[in-house]
């Protein structure tokens, strides 16, 4: 999968961007001040405990903001992961006298492994499964904590939990935890603008599209889930050291629900929201202590708040604040347009970019595509046409790996991609657009196209640094005429412009072959003319296009070569004008007397 290393020097680091650490300096200064305060201010025991709890819980809730906020996957076992970390530190330091640091690291590793295994067994399936499996896992962990008495002391819990020598005093330990919080917070805050973070957001917004732009959807989901589990484990380890005592009821399903409510209340999408939610849900119960006299009342209120938040404030408090203050904040600067878009399609194989032999796709007894051969010559535009239901879109879906072929072989530029999942085909040089537009809707146009540019195997982005991606994405957006609107959200674009952004996303990846699925559908006549113009400009750079469309004017003018399908079979293939006059094609479209 990895691109062959090229010794091409990466041209420019744009002069206007300061190094990342320097730009984020205010954050670190702020964090240092808070850590110093935690280390020097005198708190009474009660306040100290509340702070300790808030700090460790916030780290666990950051985990939820990664898996639920960034990646859109649910985790109802955060308290179990929290408990794994806590018990590792508890049992390790108290019963076996192992060093605190080893125990903390061990707890993180256990949580990581548990999270990764759980994710790997479930994340290929839909979200319902994950919800149920995480609840089940949560129950199992609680069962084990209560019943394996030789190891966990059962319901009595573990006491006399140790702390590292360096942070023996409660005050020093709190300062250490605050420092950890600051570091984790920074990582989570920064994560959303990294390669992995963008991949997570893409998966959350549209899994199918994420796959075809080259993101390994499954691995991304497992990463998010494992990262969330590890943060839970870390938080639990810190918690155990802080309170010196842990017992199974602190890590029950009810606590997982508390974590979830904290995350939703503050705003699941951002670590700031997580911190707000955690703080509020730790402080409010302290203010309203009298409610605690009735068992269950608190959790009942939490349940009710979950329903109300989901219904009336889906982005949480922080999301609400963000929307309310949007018009006072400075608009993000439109970036300078990049250099003219340069396409350099790879050419490893022979004269044919795509060779499809005997391709078939059956759905039960229905032969949607049956024994179809297609050869797409390098350079130029090749059209795949046919009446409705003839199997065009199915063919495209098999080509891009969304459907598994029943039979046949697909060779892309000399590489057999028949058995590859979508993201590997993208890495091999396949780009595509969708008939019903599939963009990442919560992101800006620029971010969408950047994700395209990040395709593994794209040689035009150097090492794939932020600036190179930015530049490439701006070039692609400018190429389709939308460079000046790069920082707008997808929802503010018209249907026709969304089409263009999808094409830009595919072009930024510098594909070897571009599949366009009915790009003219739903466009008005002037937009169609512009599309035709765009196709010409793309073809002029030597990129091969395989296009499906119903618009015969567009197809006959743009394509040099046409393949015709009917009832899943190929009925004609050849040079455009000849094919369109072919009697079988005419009768397929117009019927026979």
């Amino acid at each position: 999968m990895s691109a062959p290393s090229e010794n091409m020097p990466i041209a420019v680091t744009a002069p206007h961007t300061k190094p990342l650490l320097l730009r984020h300096l205010p954050y670190f200064i702020g964090a240092a001040v808070v850590v110093t305060l935690a280390a020097t201010m005198q708190f009474d025991g009660y306040i100290h405990n509340i702070l300790m709890q808030a700090v460790t819980f916030a780290i666990a809730v950051f985990g939820l903001s990664v898996v639920l906020g960034l990646c859109g996957q649910i985790n109802l076992a955060q308290a179990a992961f929290f408990g794994l970390g806590a018990y590792a530190v508890g049992i390790g330091t108290s019963d076996y006298h192992i060093s605190y640091w080893l125990c903390l690291a061990g707890g993180c590793v256990i949580a990581l492994m548990a999270g990764a295994l759980l994710g790997m067994s479930t994340l290929r399936l839909g979200g319902h499964y994950l919800a149920m499996v995480t609840i089940s896992f949560q129950q199992i962990v609680t069962l084990v904590m209560i019943n394996t008495i030789w190891l966990t002391h059962g319901p009595d819990g573990v006491s006399n939990i140790g702390r590292p020598a360096l942070f023996q005093s409660a005050q020093a330990y709190l300062a250490f935890c605050v420092a950890m919080l600051a570091i984790v917070g920074y990582v989570v805050w920064h994560l959303s603008d990294t390669h992995l973070g963008r991949a997570m957001r893409a998966v959350r917004d549209n899994e199918l599209a994420a796959g075809v732009v080259g993101i390994d959807v499954f691995r991304t989901k497992v990463s998010a889930f494992a990262l969330s589990a590890v943060l839970g484990g870390l938080a639990g380890g810190l918690f155990a050291g802080g309170f010196a005592y842990v017992s199974p009821d602190q890590f029950s399903f009810a606590e997982s629900v508390v974590f979830l409510t904290m995350s939703l209340l503050g705003g699941v999408a951002s670590p700031i929201g997580s911190a707000i939610g955690t703080g509020l849900l730790i402080l409010i119960p302290e203010w309203l202590r009298f409610l605690k006299s009735v068992p269950g009342l608190y959790l009942a209120l939490y349940g009710l708040s979950v329903i109300l938040i989901i219904r009336y404030m889906p982005d949480g408090i922080w999301g609400f604040v963000n929307i309310a203050t949007e018009r006072w904040r400075a608009k993000a600067r439109v970036r300078a347009a990049g250099p003219a878009l340069h396409l350099a399609p790879a050419s490893v194989g022979g004269a044919m970019v795509l060779e499809v032999k005997g391709l078939a796709k059956y759905f039960g007894g229905l032969k949607a595509v049956d024994d179809v051969d297609i050869e797409v010559r390098r350079g130029g535009v090749h059209a795949l046409i046919g009446p409705n239901g003839s199997g065009k879109t199915t063919t495209l879906n098999v080509l891009s790996g969304l459907y598994k072929a029943t039979a046949g072989r697909v060779v892309l530029d000399g590489t057999d991609v028949t058995d590859m999942p979508p993201h590997q085909r993208a890495a091999a040089g396949l780009g595509r657009t969708f008939q019903n537009i599939r963009l990442f809707r919560s992101m800006t146009a620029l971010e969408n196209v950047m994700i395209g540019a990040e395709r593994p195997g794209n040689k035009l982005i150097g090492k794939g640094g932020e600036d190179a991606l930015n530049e490439r994405a701006m070039s692609a957006l400018t190429f389709v005429g939308l460079g000046s609107r790069a920082n707008e959200l997808i929802s503010s674009f018209s249907y026709g412009h969304q089409r263009l952004i999808e094409i830009a996303r595919a072009l930024a990846a510098n594909p070897t072959l571009l599949l366009l699925d009915e790009p003219a559908a739903g466009l008005n006549s002037s937009e169609k003319l512009a599309l035709h113009e765009l196709l010409k400009r793309i073809a002029a750079q030597g990129l091969t296009i395989l296009i499906i469309d119903h618009d015969m004017t567009l197809v006959s003018e743009a394509a040099q070569h046409i393949t015709v399908l009917n009832f899943g079979r190929r009925i004609a293939d050849g040079e455009s004008m000849a094919v369109l006059r072919h009697p079988d094609v005419v009768s397929a479209y117009l019927g026979t007397e």
């Binding site: 209560i146 068992p295 269950g296």
Partner: protein
């Protein structure tokens, strides 16, 4: 051998309860494409209603039973209006989270009202059971098995042979088309929620004399029922029933021969095995999303 036969009988009895709750899951899933995580709480609430009517107020068992089911119908309607319906145009994640919220709300409201002490509910019959050769047939288990069988037949007749059943099926298969044909989709969804709540409630009332009536019974039953739907094949009615019975038997044998404290863990183990090796379940088919 005798023990095995006895366990088989018990397993089928417990499995029948899981099957009923699983059926409720599947019906709602088919109508709304959403898994209702509060399905188990329907069983728990119904069992507590029985305790209130039959034990606390001392009303006749049959009257309490009818009132409890009526209460469940009402709860199903409120649940639909308060939790599902406002979110019907959102993606599945918010809806799932809302049903989880509802589950917590229901369980803990009952806890706040009734306290943590588990309650006892008598069975329907005076006679505790009959001895049939080596196997002792507990009357409550016999009742559960009989009611489940009747409901399975009723369900088949209702969905295949009544107009209302066909309208419900049409709604679950294609909401837009159904509404174009003049079927009121919101009414159909309402009926589905009411019916599922009653089914879940029935399961809770039937199983209550075997277990204690407790706050946790809802989530325990829901987990088993969900595992049952996966084993059978998600969204498949026959699969839910077979899966429920299979799980009841596995669990009973597991508890007898392997470990009692981890009885509730077997469901999870079977669930994970199925997810890894046969995620489409016994009857299910893999369906790919359309691009």
């Amino acid at each position: 051998m005798d023990l095995a036969l006895q366990l088989l009988f018990t397993g089928i009895g417990i499995g029948a309860v899981y099957a009923l709750v699983a059926l409720g899951f599947v019906l709602i899933f088919r109508a709304t494409n959403v898994v209702n995580f509060a399905q188990g709480e329907f069983s728990m609430v119904a069992a507590y209603l029985m305790v209130v009517f039959a034990v606390d107020l001392g009303w006749p068992y049959w009257l309490s039973f009818l009132l409890a089911l009526a209460g469940m119908a009402l709860l199903g309607a409120i649940f639909n209006l308060g939790v599902y319906y406002p979110l019907r145009h959102r993606t599945f994640l918010p809806v799932i989270i809302a049903t989880i919220g509802a589950s917590i709300l229901l369980a803990n409201s009952v806890l706040a009202i009734y306290g943590p002490q588990p309650q006892v509910l008598e069975g329907w019959f005076e006679t505790p059971g009959i001895q049939l050769g080596p196997v002792y047939l507990d009357s409550q288990y016999l009742l559960i098995i009989a009611v489940t069988m009747i409901l399975v037949v009723f369900n088949y007749w209702f969905f295949e042979h009544t107009m209302l059943g066909k309208k419900l099926q049409a709604t679950s298969q294609d909401k837009e088309m159904a509404s174009l044909l003049g079927i009121s989709v919101s009414t159909m969804i309402m009926i589905t929620f009411i019916y599922s709540a009653v089914l879940g409630g029935l399961a809770g009332i039937l199983v209550a004399p075997i277990l204690f009536v407790s706050i946790q019974m809802g989530s325990t039953i829901a987990l088993k029922a969900f595992a049952a739907t996966i084993i059978g094949g998600f969204g498949d009615v026959a699969g839910a029933i077979i899966g429920g019975l299979a799980l009841g038997i596995i669990e009973t044998f597991g508890a007898a021969y392997i470990s009692v404290p981890y009885k509730d863990g077997f469901a999870f183990l079977v669930l994970v095995l199925f997810l890894v090796f046969r995620p489409q379940g016994i009857f299910g088919e893999r369906v790919a999303e359309k691009a």
